[in-house]
């Protein structure tokens, strides 16, 4: 009995972040939009989880909600909990959250060209973050910032630190963002499409850099992306989102070898492959993403699903574990 509780505790302490039944709503002129609807997942320390889905499926909002950065008004977290090592972030006050932002949890954004403050030198911005979260003198913070810039692969960091964001290329700016995000040794990094705005060669370099640093710092990462290729390369676990809810949550190898949800299947099917016959048409998922203001009452994917049943239209399938796998899927008839 005692042994069991100890074991259970050991298991739960592995879990770094636990999101449960998160609901985020935005008030618009047309009505209330539920951008995130009952999202649950857990992340273990040091693990990389990919959050995959189309634009507008709620990936970024989920990321912002973890840091308490939902613009309010119009948005708000309606219900659910976000626990970081047992501490519910949704219950924290703004000053308490500020202590966590940038130190325990960091976030990097999609658009490196605009994500840095254009009127301050990058050094000044990095030192600002370092000194806010750590007891450092100006000189120590300056040295730490140079060290971080070197770590993310910026040549001549001592020179570059005196430059303004506009003097750097997009890839360099994203590296500066990464350096800033990692400077206080966060336990969790939320990377919101960190490479989408970069050109392809830079993309690979930046992703590689992130992964290298992630293992070096031993932090967990949520990689928000619509690029399944990046997920396959970098993540252990993948969460597929659609219209604000999770459709499938599976280990990456499982997901690619054996996609369970028809939507996941469709997503994987619509990736162009080099080996494929050039004459064959690239399969697409038919139909359109439903309007978030008028979501169907049943499964959100029902209208586009080729296996749709009566039941799908009546009641939303809940995310449940498939027997004998570590995959969770929200479908009445998984593959």
């Amino acid at each position: 009995m005692i042994a069991m509780t100890a074991k259970a505790r050991a298991k739960s302490s592995d879990i770094l972040l636990s999101v449960r039944d998160l609901v985020v709503e935005f008030a618009t002129d047309q009505g209330i939009v539920r951008a995130v609807d009952g999202v649950s997942f857990t992340i273990k320390a040091g693990e990389t989880v990919g959050l995959v889905g189309e634009s507008g499926c709620g990936k970024t909002v989920t990321g912002l909600a973890i840091l308490g950065l939902i613009p309010s008004p119009p948005g708000r977290i309606v219900s659910g909990s976000i626990e970081l090592q047992g501490q519910d972030l949704t219950q924290l006050s703004e000053p308490e959250l500020r202590k966590i932002r940038g130190s325990e949890i960091s976030m990097i954004f999609q658009e490196p060209m605009t994500a840095l403050n254009p009127v301050f030198r990058i050094g000044s911005q990095m030192i600002d973050v370092l000194r806010r979260h750590q007891q450092l003198s100006k000189r120590q913070a300056h040295a730490a910032a140079i060290e971080m810039l070197a770590k993310v692969g910026i040549p001549d960091p001592a020179v570059r630190i005196e430059e303004y964001p506009h003097q750097l290329s997009g890839g360099m700016r994203q590296r500066v963002m990464i350096a800033m995000a990692l400077s206080c040794g966060p336990k969790l990094l939320i990377a919101d499409e960190p490479t989408t705005a970069l050109d392809v060669t830079t993309q690979a370099q930046v992703i590689e850099q992130i992964i290298k640093l992630q293992s070096e710092f031993g932090m967990a990462m949520i990689l928000i992306t619509h690029d399944l290729g990046v997920v396959a390369e970098t993540c252990r676990q993948a969460i597929v989102m659609y219209c604000g809810s999770v459709l499938e949550n599976a280990p990456v190898t499982e997901l690619f070898a054996h996609p369970r949800h028809p939507y996941t299947l469709g997503l994987l099917g619509s990736i162009p492959r080099l080996q494929a016959d050039r004459q064959t048409k690239l399969p697409i998922i038919s139909g359109m993403v439903p309007d978030l203001l008028h979501l169907p009452s049943g499964c959100r994917f029902a209208d586009r699903c080729n296996k749709v049943m009566q039941q799908c239209r009546q009641q939303r399938p809940l995310l449940g574990a498939l027997p004998d796998t570590s995959t969770k899927v929200a479908c009445y008839d998984p593959h």
Binding site: L67, L69, R101, S106, E111, P118, V119
Partner: protein, 317 residues
């Protein structure tokens, strides 16, 4: 050094503007302006008398020499003597411009500083009652005519029907206290009106800046609100704010206080300009117009240099 070179280039580039303004003002005020012949001659002049006076006044000379003569006046800044008081125009200007500045400066500074402060407040509490309250007042300030504001404040503060605290009109700067007594009511009226426009404008600028990506980044790194406002929002909103402030300088020096000065009987440049328009005092008008044009060129130069100071992306090349 870079700034000096840049200033010189900009000033040279400003010459066509000054030329254009002087040409138009020459056409309107001098060439097609009031004909003084009959004022000077009195009743029943003979044709010879008319021709003589016209040639004395230079009316019979062709366009180009007359315009060049005007340009010469602009360059040497010697516009001759006023036609109504026979005082040297440059003496009039050097006497009245300081008065105008002393009158307009407090309102100008308060109007902008308070405008930015209220705009920050309104932007921070966007959509809440404090925002609606401030913007409501701004709308009132914008909707009321300047003259009504002047009369309103006068009745409230200067008349025996109101508090009767300040003199109704006039100007005295002999002691700081006297200056304060005379400048208060005009300043209040100016600030009341300016705040309406300024707050609205600055709020729009600040709200736009608040939604920028780098503001979100700063929030994601735990920047507290005060620092966020100063480092991310205010500093980045400086370009439109500086533009607005610097470009209103020519107005406060020259024409902005026209209504204020004529209404309060303050002997500033605005009053002189007003009187010159009424009496058709060409030398004074020519000087004021030329001065305004030159000030605009200088203000433009100043804004560009200020841009460099607030935004490292701006190059003076």
């Amino acid at each position: 050094m870079e700034i000096l070179q840049y200033s010189l280039r900009k000033l040279i580039a400003g010459i066509p503007l000054v030329l254009g303004v002087t040409l138009i003002s020459f056409l309107l005020i001098v060439y097609f302006g009031p004909d003084k012949t009959y004022d000077l001659l009195g009743k029943n002049p003979t044709a010879e008398e008319i021709a003589e006076v016209r040639s004395q006044l230079g009316y019979d000379r062709p366009f180009v020499p007359r315009y060049l003569e005007y340009l010469h006046e602009v360059i040497t800044f010697d516009f001759g003597n006023s036609e109504s008081t026979d005082e040297k125009v440059s003496t009039i200007l050097s006497r009245t411009i300081p008065v105008s500045i002393a009158l307009a400066l407090p309102g100008f500074i308060l109007g902008n500083v308070l405008g930015v402060m209220f705009a920050l407040l309104a932007a921070y509490f966007r959509g809440r009652w404090i925002d609606k309250f401030i913007m409501g007042f701004a709308a009132i300030g914008m909707s009321i005519s300047f003259l009504i504001a002047i009369i309103g404040f006068q009745i409230l503060l200067s008349s025996s029907d109101g508090l009767d605290l300040f003199p109704v009109r006039g100007w005295d700067t002999s002691t700081p206290l006297q200056y304060l007594r005379y400048v208060t009511v005009p300043t209040l009226a100016t600030v009341f009106i300016a705040l309406g426009y300024n707050t609205r404008f600055y709020r729009a600028v600040i709200v736009e800046e608040m939604t920028r990506d780098h503001v979100r980044t700063a929030k994601a790194f735990g920047t507290p609100p005060a620092r966020l406002f100063y480092r991310n929002i205010l500093k980045n909103s400086m370009i439109p704010i500086v533009t607005r402030i610097v470009f209103s300088i020519p107005f406060i020096v020259i024409s902005g206080s026209l209504l204020l000065e004529s209404y309060f009987g303050i002997p500033g440049i605005g009053k002189v300009t007003y009187d010159a328009i009424i009496t058709g005092d060409q030398p004074v008008l020519k000087a004021v117009v030329a001065l305004t044009a030159i000030l605009f060129v200088v203000a433009q130069l100043l804004t560009d240099i200020c841009y460099r100071a607030v935004d490292p992306r701006v190059s003076l090349k």
